[in-house]
Symmetry: C3
Subunit: 210 residues, 3 copies
């Protein structure tokens, strides 16, 4: 198996785990675990493949669905043993983000040849599953949290794209790019890194507008 495919499986597996953890926080039943794990695990890659106009990965190879189901059952069996499920969710999400931004950028580059599209595909793949998870579970979107999130995906996708277009072989572009994304997101989680928010003047409510 091509080693870069490992990034794909890793992204699917950890995103599926974050979906199952969201289900445990919402006290859903086992089917709710399977459903949220599936949506989160394959959501980002599905939108990536649709937009690129290539066959959807899990329709061609249903092993990915089996991976999601296995993660859902594993979390269902063990989540109550974990002290802080939300913290675990955020760290697994960070791994998934790093894996998927690199894999998405690679697939975008292979299919279209455009570096700009590759970076956008990396960001889209890495963030869409989490957006779906938070929307369906009714949690505030992880994108709206103050710490750096999309930036990490963008940095990873950009690192991969620049290195790979510069001529480095696949794994020597993918490895550093994964690390860049993970370290930025991990640093944001651990140390609360954030950009200065746009505070010039907060928004008002629609009702306040004369």
């Amino acid at each position: 198996m091509d080693p870069i495919i490992l990034l794909d499986y890793a992204g699917v597996a950890v995103f599926a785990a974050t979906g199952a953890l969201a289900a445990s926080r919402k006290q859903l039943d086992i089917i709710g675990f399977l459903f949220l794990a599936g949506f989160t695990g394959i959501g980002g890659g599905t939108i990536r493949d649709l937009v690129l106009g290539v066959p959807v990965f899990w329709v061609q190879n249903h092993d990915y669905i089996v991976v999601c189901a296995a993660m859902a059952i594993l979390v269902y069996a063990g989540a109550h043993l974990i002290e802080s499920r939300y913290k675990l969710l955020l760290w697994l999400d960070a791994i998934g983000l790093a894996a998927y931004c690199v894999f998405g950028a690679w697939k975008g580059l292979v299919v279209t040849g455009s570096g700009v599209v590759a970076v956008v595909m990396g960001m889209l793949t890495a963030t869409f599953g989490g957006i779906l998870r938070d929307q369906i579970a009714g949690e505030p979107s992880v994108l709206m949290r103050p710490e750096i999130y999309v930036t990490a995906a963008m940095a990873g996708a950009l690192t991969f794209t620049v290195l790979h277009i510069a001529g480095l072989p696949l794994m020597l572009s993918a490895g550093p790019a994964f690390l860049v994304a993970f370290l930025i997101r991990g640093g944001a989680l651990r140390f609360g890194w954030s950009f200065p928010p746009y505070r010039s003047r907060p928004g008002r409510h629609p009702e306040d507008i004369p």
Copy 2:
């Protein structure tokens, strides 16, 4: 007309009606009825066709759009006569769920030949329109309700796929599968059937994490 196509029209029509009922609960205008009826009626089938990589059904045959519009007008004219619109919405949703999980599984099986993909397509088709409806109308997702929902779609899709792969003709696989899905969802609505929720320990709010 192939009898299985009836399932498709039935799914579109009743899901469109649930969208229109949601619009009536939100006191939208007639255009809001048309819009929510359309999104709910064709949403699940649209995502199914996109993921399968086949032409979207209502782009090929715009009768489906006319069906949605007719249901929206019908509900607009008559919804105030109904005692409990939310109850009606849930029961129509159950019929749509049963019709769509079978039709989605059939289409998934025809296009990909994989039983696993067929079951997932059945679940996706049956649940996606309702997810869209609840998200756009700003109602709590029907998936987050305690009673059995996705399970009914999974059971129907699984029944169809197993029977049809085992060699039964189309209608002898589709009929029992429709009944299985409808009876499970209907029993859940009538008797409050549910799986034990995952209650080991409820989730905490993000703010509580040290």
Copy 3:
């Protein structure tokens, strides 16, 4: 450049600006501006192209992404100077709505030849970016506001489709259709135009159902 392509760029640019304005109201960082501008700017056209089964426009031509990024940076630099960002957001949204309902209808008509599908594609293209923006930013959907919104998109798409099928050249169909959509939406914003809501009896909460 074909003049109708201008409508496409105009729709992307003003929708991107509304996404960035939503980011400023939520006090996100610069990356949040880029992300919401991108989703809102290209969301509607992406779903249009996916449903029509044609290559996604910004994957073929990444200038559209550059336009979104430029709008995000512009708004980031200047939004605090604007007295009412929500009002500006609504007016730019009105321009985007008018541009996109015409362009979407044109593309739908060119690809499918069906007037019904063309009108639906116009409405979908014009409204989907705003739906994504409001969902991700966690704001109440603009579709749920009382004034006329989807109607304006429908009127514009219908005007274009009727005129163009009747044989008028492209720009003589597109110009009046743009004006129809913009004037209806603008009138709704300025004068609070709305259809009578469906008030026969408000909806009840799920919990109230016996």
